[in-house]
């Protein structure tokens, strides 16, 4: 019990998905009816598609097996959306003749209609698929990577050990900065191919410059490592860069790099990472005006020309303990 080794902290890197990927499925009111004569099924599907097409709902299956085994009719069919029949007044007592043009449609084989709900858009993630399918069967083109990311199974334990090592380096930078009177925020830029840290920084907003958040410092240090850069950080020994890689190969700004930062970046820093064409971002704990999940999701914005993956929760507790007042 007095072991000096801490147990491996329990954390998981969770993907920060777009709003479209994380929202609850929007549902539309519809009418369905049991198919009382199975032999009519194919004809009913064909003719309903003609008189009550469902444009924009190609993900919704027209026919579903009836969930209730006690019922005499094993299949149910989607007749129309509520919005297709604005004149129907009593939804609960709607009849087939009020839902369908009786002169052109042969309703034989259909039973008494009832209300149902169908998902308005195709599900993008497995949780959305499961929630949508609970209402009406829906097709789903699964992104296996997103599914395993959501389950926390995207990374192997060897990868998690590396991620923990990089975030721990960012935490050490944050602590160094705190020791010098700075906000306790640290960041490291990692070349994932060479498996090495190319720049380490801590927050300097209360030191050299009000805009020198840890991420901004880190980006400039990467630039220095590439022979550029705009500032000098000699007075801050915990901020530094590693110089060009073994092969001396030059990256274009931060293309393909991973950033580890203890706290969710603000909108300035998030956009700076986008401008720098960052590969992936891992952050520890959320921040109140954070731009990768809390206030904005800069990395998923449809109008911005560079998208990238963001994961939160690496060493979450350690990171949130650095800034107890700003995490949420």
């Amino acid at each position: 019990r007095s072991s000096s080794r801490l147990p491996e902290p329990a954390w998981s890197a969770r993907p920060v998905l777009s709003d479209a990927q994380s929202a609850d499925p929007e549902l539309l009111d519809a009418f369905a009816a049991p198919i009382v004569d199975r032999r009519e099924t194919a004809r009913l599907v064909r003719e309903l598609a003609a008189v009550r097409p469902l444009p924009g709902l190609r993900h919704v299956k027209r026919v579903r097996p009836c969930g209730d085994r006690g019922k005499p009719h094993p299949l149910e069919i989607l007749v129309c959306l509520l919005s297709d029949v604005p004149d129907v007044e009593d939804r609960g007592a709607a009849t087939l003749s009020s839902l369908l043009p009786c002169e052109s449609f042969d309703a034989s084989g259909l039973g008494q209609p009832f209300l149902a709900k169908v998902p308005a858009s195709p599900p993008l993630t497995r949780p959305q698929y499961e929630r949508a399918s609970a209402h009406w069967p829906t097709s789903f083109h699964e992104d296996k990577q997103v599914t395993s990311a959501l389950k926390g199974q995207l990374f192997t334990s060897a990868q998690k050990a590396k991620m923990q090592e990089y975030m721990a380096a960012a935490v050490r930078a944050a602590e160094d900065g705190r020791g010098r009177g700075m906000d306790a925020v640290g960041a490291v830029m990692v070349d994932p191919d060479a498996d090495r840290i190319v720049a380490t920084a801590h927050d300097l907003r209360h030191g050299s410059h009000p805009l020198h958040h840890a991420v901004m410092v880190c980006i400039d240090l990467v630039a220095r490592g590439q022979g550029g850069g705009a500032y000098c950080y000699e007075r801050h020994p915990a901020c530094g860069f590693a110089g060009p890689g073994i092969k001396g190969e030059q990256r274009y700004i931060c293309t393909g790099y991973d950033l580890y930062v203890t706290r969710e970046p603000c909108v300035m820093c998030a956009m700076a990472l986008l401008h720098s064409r960052i590969g992936r971002v891992f952050y520890g704990s959320a921040s109140a005006d954070g731009a990768f999940g809390t206030k904005y999701k800069i990395h998923t914005h449809k109008d911005l020309n560079h998208r990238f993956e963001v994961f939160k929760g690496v060493l979450q507790q350690v990171c949130s303990d650095l800034n107890p007042e700003t995490t949420s």
């Binding site: 009000p210 705009a230 909108v267 300035m268 911005l304």
Partner: protein
């Protein structure tokens, strides 16, 4: 030219808006900076930071020169303002709160956040920034409710907008020599 938009707290910015003569002459200088950027292979954006009729900072994009994608005109000019404050032992917050930014293109999302963090109250800009604009075009960082990201600011848009767009088009027609992929753009 547009009328001032944005902002909560319009009354907070008690100083007078610049006259159209002032706007014209400061913007002429900002356009000169943008031209200098274009001639040096940078995205043609130029700006001026003006405090009580005195220019405290000037900037143009220097992304390629510094290999740092955050070196936008506004950030460069803000550095000069901070340097001016340091040299005169003035409080940057108090100075920035009375400083107007004149810039040829709508500040991007990053720069809009930087301007908030330094409490710049008013931005006069030329054309919209359809790709990255942070004053309404892509996001409205200028007016959004971000209580931990400085103060919201007002903006006046549209001064010599066509000219600003033309300069950007000229730049994007040439290929950015420092980018490996022709699609990479920095403003």
């Amino acid at each position: 030219m547009g009328s001032p938009s944005s902002g909560s707290d319009l009354t907070k910015n008690e100083f007078a808006h610049p006259s159209s003569e002032e706007i014209q002459s400061w913007m002429a200088e900002a356009f000169g900076m943008a031209k200098d950027a274009l001639e040096n292979g940078e995205v043609p954006v130029g700006c001026l930071m003006v405090y009580e009729k005195e220019v405290l900072g000037k900037g143009r994009n220097e992304v390629n020169e510094t290999k740092n994608a955050t070196r936008h005109a506004e950030i460069v000019a803000l550095d000069e303002v901070l340097e001016w404050c340091r040299a005169r032992q003035q409080d940057p917050k108090a100075v920035c709160a009375r400083t107007v930014l004149y810039v040829t293109v709508e500040p991007c999302i990053m720069c809009a956040a930087a301007l908030r963090l330094l409490n710049i109250p008013l931005v006069v800009y030329g054309c919209r920034n359809e790709r990255f604009g942070g004053c309404g075009s892509v996001l409205d960082v200028a007016s959004d409710d971000l209580p931990h990201t400085g103060t919201s600011f007002q903006y006046i848009s549209g001064h010599r907008a066509d000219e600003a767009v033309e300069m950007l088009k000229t730049f994007y027609k040439q290929e950015n020599p420092n980018a490996p992929k022709p699609k990479t753009r920095n403003e």
